[in-house]
Amino acid sequence: MRMTIPLQLVLQVLLENPDRELYGLEIGSAAGLASGTVHPLLARMEGHGWLESRWEDIDPSIEGRPARRYYRLTAQGAQDARAALARSRSRRPHGMPLPALGQEA
């Protein structure tokens, strides 16, 4: 997978707590990315086996909204993502940092 800046931001968000499940909108806001940017990345990661997703188990009439789709890194995905992030950091010229999380990339 090409390690674009948006992908690295999404991975940073997911790697902050790999066991935590997040939904697409939440990932986008934490990474500072628009929803349209986030979902193709999530789909690609899911296809590569880095992510797994499931529908939220709620009763919509109690919550007052439909179930959300939650994403979480797989064990292998977390390992691969850390390695890929480290590789891309080492390639960044003069250790140039990524945009801070929550800011527009």
Binding site: G36, P40, S61, G64, A67
Partner: protein
């Protein structure tokens, strides 16, 4: 027993319409999932946020289609990443010439597939014998049209 909550602000009709239009370009297998996911995200948003969200989904719907399409094209063989390119060459797009080669499914069935665009010669993966694949390939090469010499 928890009391029934009041429903959060539902998506506006135009936001739903934009999401439906965005989902319409996705493969049919992925369409309901993403439509429901986007609609669920829209609940509780202000009108402005709904507009931003649904326009974002609409402008990136082809990227999502490519991502979903590409994810469906992983080859099980070899255990390495054989993702088919999302951008198909013109000759594949026009269906003029493909680079056919033989692949097998996890249960051993054989089928023909284009190396460049990932198209299956017989649509979805179908079970066929080696002899059938060989006959089919010979037929394709003999006709000189679609055969790309990949066999």
């Amino acid at each position: 027993m928890p009391a029934a909550a009041t429903w959060q602000r539902p998506p506006r009709w135009w936001a739903r319409a934009l999401i439906a239009a965005s989902a319409a370009v996705l493969p049919s297998s992925a369409r309901p999932r993403y439509e429901e996911e986007f609609i669920a995200d829209l609940y509780g948003m202000s009108g402005g946020d709904q507009a931003r969200y649904s326009l974002g989904a609409a402008t990136h719907c082809f990227a999502l289609r490519n991502a979903v399409h590409t994810d469906n094209q992983h080859c099980p063989e070899g255990g390495h990443d054989m993702t088919i390119r999302a951008h198909r060459p013109l000759r594949c797009l026009l269906n003029v010439r493909h680079d056919w080669h033989t692949e097998s499914t996890e249960d051993g069935a054989r089928y023909l597939r284009c190396r460049r665009c990932g198209k299956d010669e017989t649509g979805p993966v179908q079970k066929s014998t080696n002899a059938q694949v060989a006959a089919h390939a010979a037929n394709l090469l003999g006709s000189g049209g679609a055969g790309g010499g990949g066999l």
